[in-house]
Symmetry: C2
């Protein structure tokens, strides 16, 4: 009887989203005197930093994703539900699911992340998919591989050139990784497999609105990244804003780039769930949380990861995986403190650095204040990513894949699945 | 000049479809004095016998598929085009593509295979997908994994039971493999990962219209297969014809099985391209070819694989992968003979046997007249399938996956991608 009573009395913690932040929060609550419910619209946790490899046919979906309930199967105080959250009712302390069902909570950790933003030009989305989910990655993979296939079938030279032109909009880490990898595919993976086209003639254009690639990196590393991209054959155009995107290509003011494949890596907007909290938001829609990551006026609600706007030591915490993980772990500690009747401590971000890869043996890194580029930065990137990949099994398989690709230039995941717009489209 | 002239004079061989038959034909023409064009609507060759493993989350798409142009990249006389064929004009010797373009041929090898048939009940297709393509496999995987997720969310007992009931219609090799694997997933892979449901209580029902499972096998092996299925927990119901399939489940006359997940493994219909040849067809829509596999009245057209109805030594050649491969190799030899001005020999099928797997250490096999079941049959199945998998790389990865799954019961590909019918559907 007392066991039942105490189980019922255990506070209910609901976590929305199982990205890096939500997963770290869930793990941080292992063994806590609480019942935990973890909600995610997908059945898998995604290792987002390698998603561009799925989009560019280097890795399979299963190598960068693992079922959430499998990862957390040993955590007996935790229930995983695959569900879309429609809204949050902070006043009545309940989360509303897509089917109208409500889940009451004592503590809530919102980790629903961010999505792409087209800066008000939502009509561009059809022509220039962004890269956030596995579905996005498959869509981009299909478009890229199909473009080469269509070029091989095309007899008109101008139409063929448009199929062989790839534009990446936005030169943050994802844009740089995509552009570098696309250039490598055209120059190293595909030559010799086509009979009518020379894939090495494909054009990869990287557009960036600011004056340098990787704008959040030190200027010296931006210069080095640009040089490495250009060595791979990428046309880097900084200070260039896309003013129009349609089926024919990209407009930059009066100029037009005819391209059948455009990828969007420019804008990020916080999850719309932030708005349902009634809390102050910043311009990107992120929730301005207090120093302990809780929502002002709602000490029982924590917002973490890309959805949170927070400063640490006077500087904004960046929207990257290590920051989300640290916030998740912090939110778990804060919930444990509150359950124990103590105040939650302030969040402090430990900055381990920045890492962006460009291609084979090409990367830039800022680690503990040390700037690396080229081969050493690439090795740092390689080991960091393999180390942090979820689950032992995936790590080994990914390492094998990479070793194979490195020596052969092959990309094993060059499989087109699904597709709209006609049987061969 | 003479080199150019002879290149122009080289006859043009068009192959439609790159399954086992088309791929064997393409390979058989390596080095031939011909130009070869290979058309397929997909960009990949699919190792169909393992597709059920993709549907049941044991393997990734990339482990059972490889890009066609990569497989054949060294065959310099061959061009691969990803294109859907809309029809064939035998009189003017041309293949018509989906975009209206025509490709003239001197010799044509039609290897466009088969698709599922719902015996005139096409409305069933939405509720009971078949398993022919990678898209089909992802659809079935999504339905199966989502069913367990929905059951975990469902509070009504009857609705939950419907989510936990899986019906496989048709007990040929594919149906037996699917049913056995689904039972294993429910009993061995998933328990311990759910908090509200016991997946071991899931019901897997295998319906078969004839009086035994694996009707094309010797009756003794059918009995053994049935016993192994029942040991895994599959409800085997022979002599049962589905008379209706909808969102609520399957009707068998007056009886209803409430099931949210139904898979169709019952009927096969030949590709509709057969009809555009103007040749005699059998009841399943297959083209009745001559002894050399050519179409009567059209010695320049060969039909092979599942689309061909042909006898060898007085017995019909079965619609299985080894037969398609042998026909492909034969068609290539026949084309070479014709080019050299000789008559093509008759096709003779070498029967190496039959193999069907049921689950871990459960299978039946008929090899050179010897009947095997259980562990020895399963070992034979394992080695045959690894041996015949396309491409060295895939073989090693699949072997590792299988070794891992064997010891851990894990299925690494449990990733839901895409999906219609609502965000969590």
């Amino acid at each position: 009887m007392s066991a039942t009573a105490s189980a019922t009395a255990a506070p209910h913690v609901v976590i929305i989203g199982c990205g890096f932040g939500g997963l770290a929060a869930a793990r941080g609550l292992a063994g806590a005197a609480a019942r935990i419910t973890l909600l995610d619209r997908a059945n898998h946790h995604l290792f987002q930093p390698l998603l561009y490899q799925v989009a560019t046919a280097g890795l399979s979906a299963t190598e960068v994703a693992a079922p959430i309930r499998h990862i957390l199967r040993r955590q007996r105080n935790l229930t995983v539900l695959m569900a879309e959250v429609a809204g949050i009712g902070p006043a009545r302390r309940a989360v509303v699911l897509d089917d109208g069902a409500e889940i009451a909570y004592d503590y809530l950790i919102v980790a629903s992340g961010a999505t792409h933003s087209y800066f008000g030009n939502d009509a561009w989305a059809r022509f220039a998919p962004g890269l956030k989910t596995l579905e996005d990655a498959f869509d981009i993979r299909r478009r890229v591989l199909t473009a080469f296939e269509r070029a091989e079938r095309e007899s008109d030279a101008a139409a063929r050139a448009a199929w062989l032109t790839f534009v990446v909009v936005g030169a943050g880490a994802t844009g740089v990784e995509l552009a570098g990898t696309l250039a490598e595919i055209a120059r190293h993976t595909l030559p010799g497999e086509f009979r009518r086209i020379d894939t090495r003639g494909a054009r990869v254009v990287l557009l960036e609105g600011t004056d340098r690639v990787l704008p959040s990196y030190p200027p010296e590393l931006s210069r080095k990244a640009r040089r490495q991209l250009e060595r791979l054959g990428v046309e880097v155009r900084t200070g260039c804003l896309a003013t129009g995107i349609d089926a024919a290509g990209v407009a930059i003011g009066a100029e037009r780039i005819r391209a059948r494949t455009v990828v969007w890596a420019a804008g990020v907007a916080a999850s719309p769930l932030g708005r349902t909290l009634g809390a102050p938001l910043d311009r990107a829609g992120r929730v301005r949380v207090g120093p302990d990551l809780s929502v002002p006026g709602h000490p029982e609600i924590f917002v973490i990861g890309d959805l949170a706007a927070v400063e640490s030591e006077g500087r904004p915490v960046p929207g990257i995986a290590p920051a989300a993980k640290q916030m998740g772990a912090h939110a778990a500690r804060a919930v444990r403190s509150r359950i124990a009747g103590r105040a939650a401590p302030a969040f402090r971000y430990r900055d381990y650095g920045l890492l962006a890869t460009i291609g084979r043996r090409a990367a830039v890194a800022l680690i503990g204040g040390v700037r690396l580029s080229g081969y050493p930065a690439w090795l740092a990137w390689l080991f960091a990513h393999i180390y942090f990949l979820i689950g032992f099994r995936n790590r080994v398989v990914v390492l094998l894949e990479w070793a194979w690709s490195y020596w052969t230039f092959e990309r094993h995941a060059r499989i087109v699945i699904g597709g709209g717009g006609g049987p061969a489209g």
